[in-house]
C-alpha cells in the first residue's frame, strides 16, 4: 500500500492538536522523520541512486505525479529528513503547541514538494509550506512579529499567485505539467518569478531577513532550512543552465554578503547571508554543467546543516541571554564555551574551512565556474567567500563571543540537553561529509564527481584566502563595530513607501498655495542639508557650477545629435 512520506507529519500535527504534549506525542515528535523514511523506503532505487521511480494518481483528465524519486529529489528529501530530526530534537523542550503543529506541516509539505513530479503537486505543497511557515514567523513574546507574519503572507501570496497564473496558462495551452525543464515563455517567466520569491532573489528578497529574525528561536531553526531550498530544487528541475539564473544568483550573493556585514541583529545577519548562499547555489545551477548542478545541490544540502547549526546557535544565544543584537552582546566565550565550539564549527564550515562540508561544496562550485571559463564569476565567488568568513566567521564570532561585554552583561542560562544533542548532530554531519565526501556526499549528488577537492594546491590556496581575510579584519576591526540600527532594504517600499504613496495621492486635494510654498522650501532645505552631510568638502557654489556644466554638456550633446542626426 502506498503511503506518501508527508503523511506521518500530518499525523504528528493532528496528534499534537488532539493530545498536546503527551508522552506518546513526544515519542512521535522524535520518530516522525524515521516514519517518513519508512514510507519512502519501498521507492528508493535499489541499484544505484540514479534510477527513477514514479507514483501517479489520476485526477479527472490529469495524471498527477505525486512521487518522483531520482538522484536530485532523494538528496533533498534525505537531508530534509535528517535536518527535521535535528530540528525536532532542538524543539523538544518547546511548549508551544501551535508552533509544533506548524513545524510538522511545514517540514512535511517541504518533503512533499521535493518529491513532487509535476507542477500542480508542487504548487499544492508550495502553498501549504507558505501557510504553515507563516505561523512559525509569529513570536508570542514579540508583538511586532504579527506585522512580520502579515508581510510574509502578502509576499508569499503574491508568489503563489504568480505560480498559479503560470499553471493555469500551461493548462489552458494544453501543455505538459511535468516538473521538468521549462521554456522561457510567459508561463515559464511566471514560474521563474514565483520561484525567485521563495528563493529570496533580489529584488524580492527582503521578506527573508524580516521574517526569519522575527520568529521564536525554534521557529527560525525550521524556517532556515526549507523554503529557500525547495525553491533551489525547483530552479534545478526547471531552469538548469539559464543565464538569468547565473546573473540573479551572482547579484543575490553580493547583495546578501554586503547586507550581512551591515547587520547588528545576529539572526538578520544569518538571514542575509542565507540569501548570499542561495545566490551561490543558483549561479551553480545556472551554469548547467554536471559539476555546477552537483555542486549546487551539494551546497544546498550542506547549507541546510551548517546554516541550521548557526541558527540553532543564534537561537541558543537568544534563549540563554535574552538578546540578539551584537551591540548588546559580548564576552560570551567566557560564559559558555560549549556554545562557542558549536558556533565555531558552523562558522568555519560556511566559510569553507578544509575538513568541513562547506569547503567541499564551495570547491565544486569554484571548479564549475572555472570550467565554464567565467572568470568574473570565479572572482565573485572568491569575494563572496571572503565576505562569508568576514561576516559570520569573524564579525559575529568576535563581537558576540570575544567583544567587550556591555555595561549590563547578560546572564547566560544553561542550554537544555536536547538542544546540545541537536547541535552535536549537526556538527557530526558537517565533519562527516567534510572529511570523507567520497563516501558520504558524492554518491548522493545528481551527477558523478571527477574533481579532487583535497589537492594540496587547492588546500593551501583556501588557507591563504582565509588568512588574508583574517589579516584585513584584524587591521580594520574598529570599522565593523556594531551599533543599534535598521538597514533600509527593498521592504521599505511596502513598509513605508505604500503609506507615502497613499499620502501623495491624497495630497493635492488638501493643498493651498502657502502649504505648497512651505513644503517646497522645507524639501529644498532638507535636500541641501543632506547633500552637505554626504559631500562635506563640496561648496554649494562648486556643486552648482558642476551641475550647470553637466546640464550644459547634456544640452549641447542633445543639440549636436539633433542637428547631425547621429
Amino acid at each position: 500500500m502506498f503511503m506518501h512520506p508527508a503523511i506521518p507529519f500530518l499525523f504528528a500535527a493532528l496528534l499534537t492538536l488532539a493530545k498536546g504534549r503527551s508522552p506518546f506525542q513526544r515519542a512521535v515528535h522524535l520518530a516522525v522523520p524515521a516514519l517518513a523514511f519508512a514510507c519512502l523506503y519501498p521507492y528508493l532505487p535499489k541499484e544505484g541512486l540514479r534510477e527513477l521511480h514514479r507514483v501517479t494518481m489520476p485526477l479527472g483528465d490529469l495524471s498527477l505525479q505525486i512521487l518522483k524519486v531520482d538522484s536530485l529529489s532523494i538528496l533533498f528529501a534525505g537531508v530534509f529528513m535528517i535536518y527535521t530530526l535535528l530540528a525536532n530534537l532542538y524543539a523538544y523542550p518547546s511548549k508551544g503547541r501551535a508552533h509544533l503543529i506548524a513545524a510538522y506541516l511545514y517540514a512535511g509539505s517541504s518533503l512533499g514538494a521535493v518529491l513532487a513530479g509535476d507542477l500542480l503537486v508542487l504548487f499544492v505543497f508550495w502553498e501549504l509550506m507558505a501557510l504553515a511557515s507563516a505561523l512559525l514567523v509569529w513570536n508570542p513574546e514579540r508583538p511586532a512579529s504579527l506585522k512580520a507574519v502579515y508581510r510574509y503572507l502578502l509576499v508569499h501570496a503574491a508568489g503563489g499567485l504568480l505560480f498559479l497564473s503560470g499553471l493555469l496558462l500551461r493548462l489552458h495551452e494544453g501543455q505538459s505539467l511535468a516538473l521538468a525543464a521549462q521554456p522561457f515563455d510567459l508561463a515559464g517567466g511566471l514560474f521563474f518569478a514565483a520561484f525567485a520569491v521563495n528563493a529570496a532573489l533580489p529584488p524580492v528578497h527582503a521578506w527573508l531577513p524580516d521574517a526569519y529574525s522575527s520568529g521564536t528561536p525554534e521557529g527560525s531553526v525550521y524556517l532556515s532550512a526549507f523554503t529557500s531550498k525547495v525553491a533551489v530544487f525547483a530552479f534545478a528541475r526547471c531552469f538548469a543552465g539559464s543565464d538569468w539564473l547565473v546573473g540573479f544568483g551572482a547579484a543575490a550573493a553580493v547583495l546578501g554578503v554586503l547586507y550581512a556585514l551591515m547587520q547588528d541583529d545576529i539572526r538578520k545577519l544569518l538571514s542575509y547571508h542565507l540569501i548570499c548562499q542561495v545566490g551561490f547555489m543558483l549561479a551553480g545551477i545556472g551554469l548547467g554543467s554536471d559539476l555546477g548542478l552537483s555542486g549546487a545541490a551539494g551546497h544546498a544540502a550542506g547549507n541546510i546543516l551548517f546554516k541550521g547549526l548557526l541558527f540553532m546557535c543564534a537561537g541558543a544565544i537568544l534563549t540563554a541571554t535574552g538578546y540578539s543584537r551584537l551591540s548588546e552582546l559580548g564576552g560570551l566565550a567566557a560564559k559558555n564555551r560549549t556554545m562557542l565550539v558549536f558556533y565555531a564549527v558552523g562558522a568555519l564550515a560556511i566559510s569553507g574551512m578544509p575538513g568541513l562540508n562547506g569547503y567541499v561544496t564551495k570547491s565544486l562550485l569554484f571548479a564549475a565556474a572555472a570550467k565554464a571559463h567565467l572568470v568574473w564569476l570565479e572572482l565573485l565567488f572568491i569575494a563572496v567567500s571572503v565576505g562569508t568568513f568576514l561576516s559570520i566567521g569573524l564579525k559575529l564570532a568576535y563581537f558576540a563571543f570575544f567583544g567587550k561585554p556591555p555595561a549590563k552583561p547578560a546572564t547566560v542560562q544553561r542550554l537544555p540537553i536536547p538542544v546540545l544533542l541537536a547541535m552535536s548532530g549537526a556538527v557530526f554531519c558537517c565533519f562527516l561529509t567534510g572529511l570523507d565526501p567520497a563516501a558520504f556526499l558524492y554518491p548522493y549528488l545528481p551527477y558523478p564527481i571527477q574533481y579532487n577537492v583535497f589537492s594540496p594546491s587547492h588546500l593551501f590556496e583556501t588557507l591563504q584566502l582565509l588568512t588574508g581575510t583574517l589579516a584585513a579584519f584584524l587591521l580594520m576591526l574598529k570599522g565593523l563595530h556594531p551599533h543599534k540600527s535598521v538597514t533600509l532594504d527593498a521592504d521599505w517600499f511596502y513598509r513605508k513607501g505604500g503609506g507615502l504613496l497613499v499620502k501623495g495621492v491624497c495630497l493635492p486635494a488638501s493643498l493651498s498655495q502657502e502649504t505648497i510654498q512651505h513644503g517646497l522650501t522645507q524639501f529644498l532645505k532638507s535636500a541641501d542639508a543632506r547633500l552637505r552631510k554626504m559631500f562635506p568638502s563640496v561648496s554649494p557654489a562648486g556643486a552648482g557650477y558642476s551641475l550647470l556644466v553637466i546640464l550644459g554638456g547634456i544640452a549641447a550633446a542633445a543639440v549636436w545629435f539633433y542637428f547631425t542626426g547621429v
Binding site: 554586503l258 571572503v386 594540496p456 594546491s457 588568512t467 579584519f473 533600509l488
Partner: protein, 81 residues
C-alpha cells in the same frame, strides 16, 4: 607617579602581522605544490589568494561601512511609528 601608557593606535597590527606570516607560508606551500590546474595567469601568481582575500575583505568592509553610514542606516525604531 607612574605615567599611564597610551593605548596602541592599531591594536590589531601585531596579530595581523603574525597571520600574514602564516599566509606567506601557505603561499609558499601552494607554489611548491602547484599542479597547473589553473588556466588564468593571475591565479599562478604566488600569494594571489592571500592578496585576493586581503583586498576583497578590505573592499567589502569599506563598501559596507560607506553604505550603512551614508545611505542605509536608520534608527532602530524607524519602522515602529
Amino acid at each position: 607617579m607612574k605615567k599611564k601608557k597610551d593605548a596602541p593606535r592599531r591594536p590589531g597590527l601585531p596579530p595581523a602581522a603574525l597571520v600574514s606570516i602564516a599566509g606567506a607560508l601557505f603561499a609558499a606551500a601552494a607554489f611548491y605544490y602547484a599542479d597547473g590546474s589553473h588556466e588564468a595567469p593571475w591565479q599562478k601568481i604566488p600569494g594571489f589568494h592571500f592578496i585576493a582575500g586581503f583586498a576583497a575583505a578590505f573592499l567589502l568592509m569599506g563598501a559596507a561601512k560607506f553604505l550603512s553610514g551614508r545611505l542605509l542606516d536608520r534608527p532602530a525604531d524607524y519602522y515602529e511609528d
